[in-house]
């Protein structure tokens, strides 16, 4: 029960964050909304007992990648976008109602045609621990892991070559 209410809470928050990112007029506040979404998704991973992925999500996305985003936004010195003043509250309410009705229609259609996947409970007690992931990463997926190393090397070479080479 706790897990369910947590899921509903985090899910709603992450959707709100995503909407906020789209609606925000200032690129920096967009980025901050995105951080909210990323944190909530990390929380969702936690409710699935995927601790490792949750930590990595916070470290990599909410940490490193967001910092890069913010740097780029500030370096590019983007202006704010036109405000939403022109959209009246009637239109806004109408839009929300439309979305609600559309969601219901899609849900009814999907259940009626038996398109929705059945709910299933997966045993995830130990699935997300770093030990489990490391074990399969270095045995079952060892080859893919090594090739990803090559992929990153290629990306680094490319970045250095395209940006730094003196083209005579």
């Amino acid at each position: 029960m706790l897990a369910e209410s947590l899921f509903v809470m985090l899910g709603t928050l992450s959707v709100i964050g995503a909407l906020g990112m789209l609606i925000a007029r200032n690129p920096v506040s967009s980025a901050l909304w995105l951080i909210l979404t990323l944190f909530c998704v990390a929380g969702l991973y936690l409710t699935l007992s995927a601790e490792f992925i949750a930590v990595v999500q916070v470290l990599v996305y909410a940490g490193a990648i967001m910092v890069l985003f913010l740097f780029v936004i500030m370096l590019l010195n983007l202006g704010t976008m036109p405000t939403m003043k022109g959209v009246g509250w009637k239109k806004a309410v109408g839009f929300v109602l439309c979305v609600v009705v559309l969601t219901q229609l899609v849900l009814i259609g999907a259940t009626g045609l038996d398109l929705l996947p059945a709910t299933e409970v997966v045993d995830v007690a130990n699935a997300g621990s770093a030990t489990t992931i490391a074990k399969s990463l270095f045995t079952r997926y060892a080859l893919a892991f090594e090739v990803i190393g090559i992929l990153l090397l290629v990306a680094t070479i490319g970045a250095v070559m395209l940006a730094k080479r003196r083209f005579a």
Binding site: S136, T139, E146, V147, L151, M161
Partner: protein, 498 residues
Amino acid sequence: MDLAGAYEGILFDVAGGFTLLLLMTAGVVCIVWDIFSNDDPVLPVLAAMTCVVAAGWEVRGLDAGSSTAFYDLIRAYGLTSYINITLLISALVSIVLSVPYLNRIRRGYGEVYALILFATAGAVMLASANSLVTVFVGLETMSIALYILVGLVRQGGGGIESALKYFLLGAFSTGFFLYGIALLYGATGTMILPDLAAGFEARGSMMLLFWAGVALFLVGFLFKVSAVPFHMWTPDVYQGAPTPLTGYMSTASKAAAFAALILVLYYGLGDLAATKWQTALAVVALVTMVGGNIFALVQNNVKRMLAYSSVAHAGYVLVALVAGTGEGYAGAAYYLLIYSFMNLGAFGVMALLEWDQKEGSEQTIDSLSGVGLRKPILGVVMTVFMFSLIGFPPFGGFFGKIAVFAPAIEAGFTWLVIVGVLASALSGYYYLRVLYVFWMRPQSWSAPQVQAHKFPVPSLSAAVLVACAVVLTVIGFVPVVRDLPMVYFDVAFTGGTP
């Protein structure tokens, strides 16, 4: 899992993944070598030798039945060897043709050859995929290396434009692809291709998830092989990239993506309500053949024309996949081999003709007037490539077209094949126009102009192009090349595991 036992298993598998491991190692060696001896002329030789050694290793595996290695991540031997040889030939020819071209435009960097090796490693991984993870990692390794190679010629705008376009659209299609993989995994609970169908059936009631996953997955593939609704990037990217590397892109990346598609369709989706993806692929094949040929008709730049023609050829290969039979898949593998020779050759000739420092983006049909008379070797080999691309009888392209169209007729897609044959008749116009310009339109130049347009043809490049032309001339008369892939899909021989 017992770790010690796991590593013993991996050690045992090294033979199966030898080509992949060799290519990666050689690429790293190239990069490290380049640090100590910048742009060493030995590097292309090293890269070419690697391809030769790997191809020699793969020839050993041609007769062996297929097996899996590295915990079912990749396949080895059999069909995989066949495709890998295609990829390695493509890499080898591209390396040899790149050396004089890149040196002339002063881009003969050591990194380029390492990147070609890495791209080939990605292609090999993609073409030997037995798991959705492998498909994705291979595809990305190949693509990222290609994005960089496309952007190699930076001044003039064309290179940057094409690299950026390729990168953005490629990243976008990767998104589709990855989402498709996620949905497929959710619907089947497995990443291993041969287990997909069973996993789907065991879970039941996952229709929407599964077919949405298949659709997104196919979109990713169709982008990589530039099938028609997803082909927009092709002409610009092919035009802006360094020409020998365009040849590499249009052959190796396409052959690898098609090989992976064959594996996915044959192992993953083969037993499932085949009609669903067959109809979708049939429609895509139809518009790809018609669209590619019609767009090619109106091109004035030969590289753009060849780009659209490669779109059309992707359509021919798709016809073979639509058939969904062993002969169809075998025909597609055979066609990819022949197509590689034709396209590498055609782009190779175009690379050698960029003598006046004009990049391919500026080369029009008119600037090539009478080239065949001044450079008979290039003229003759171009004639072979063009006739082969049309599918004219004594040349390889003809036998390739039989191999892709015949299975489709047997599977009941006669209408598709009729359209295909009509479309390839249409292609005769723009291929023959090149030959007309090469041979029959004399260049009315004064003596000093002729002097100014003298350019050398490096003997090694000429030798490689002649070799491609000779192969295309005789390959149709060596039935073993055509029959080999058939064996891999012959259930009696392999017990269902090519």
